[in-house]
């Protein structure tokens, strides 16, 4: 048995899990407010656009949070599929990881266009 290359997928999973834990609850709370019709001032088009368009650091932060959270969710979902008895791990992994990568690339593109 050779040593596994699992760290390649596990390290970003662990980092992403931490990012999700710190940031996603509060972000979800904000968009929950939006869903209830109360758009916080900072989420208006003008302010969102201005702080994201001008600040490279903000773009990087948003990209980092999204990419890591997506990867982490994809990885955990892959393990969950196995736990539910879906024994086609290679296919599941390929689909989920690619989905995470595509979504991250899309996020990067959108941020670039701003």
């Amino acid at each position: 048995m050779a040593k596994s290359n699992k760290p390649v997928v596990w390290f970003p999973f662990a980092a992403g899990g931490t990012v999700i834990a710190f940031f996603i609850p509060v972000i979800a709370l904000l968009t929950l407010l939006v869903a209830f019709g109360k758009v916080p001032a900072g989420l208006s088009y003008e302010s969102m656009h201005s702080w994201l368009a001008d600040c490279v650091l903000a773009k990087l932060a948003v990209f980092g949070i999204l990419a890591l959270s997506l990867w982490s969710s994809a990885h955990r979902l892959r393990c969950t599929c196995f736990d539910f008895g879906l024994r086609i791990d290679t296919l599941v992994a390929a689909v989920l990881y690619s989905a995470a990568i595509v979504a991250s690339l899309a996020a990067a593109m959108f941020l670039f266009r701003l």
Partner: protein, 130 residues
């Protein structure tokens, strides 16, 4: 005497009904489905933002549909559950020995909770909720 041990297979699709702790574990894992979908939604929001004011405001308006409200509630709960299980696990994954003794686990998790609370308040203030 020859051996003839009895092999009992684990039911691969229903094993988690065997014990409440497995159900707790599965709910923790299932949060990833909601969190993942929520992140995809955020990417869509970014896309709308990149497209301009009109499409961004349409996106915000679309969030107010009943389906979206239900999804947001689910995603919020999932994210909270993920966060608590994650911070509770930090003491298990990263024990810290200072001098001879190990730092009490509750301090390690507690520190994470404090940072979490501070970060959340900062984000809420930045978003101009108040």
């Amino acid at each position: 005497m020859s051996r003839k041990p009895l092999i009992r297979e684990v039911p691969p699709t229903t094993w988690y009904f065997r014990h409440p702790r497995y159900l707790r574990y599965m709910s923790r894992e299932i949060t990833s489905l909601f969190v993942g979908a929520y992140c995809v939604l955020l990417v869509c929001g970014l896309g709308a933002l990149a497209d301009g004011k009109e499409s961004y405001e349409a996106f915000l308006l679309a969030l107010q549909s009943p389906l979206s409200i239900a999804f947001h509630v689910a995603a919020f709960i999932a994210a909270l559950y993920h966060a608590t299980t994650w911070f509770n696990a930090t003491q298990v994954a990263m024990p810290i020995q200072i001098g001879e003794n190990f730092v009490p686990g509750s301090w390690i998790s507690g520190a994470h909770y404090v940072v979490w609370a501070l970060l959340s308040v900062v984000v809420i203030l930045l978003a101009g909720v108040f």
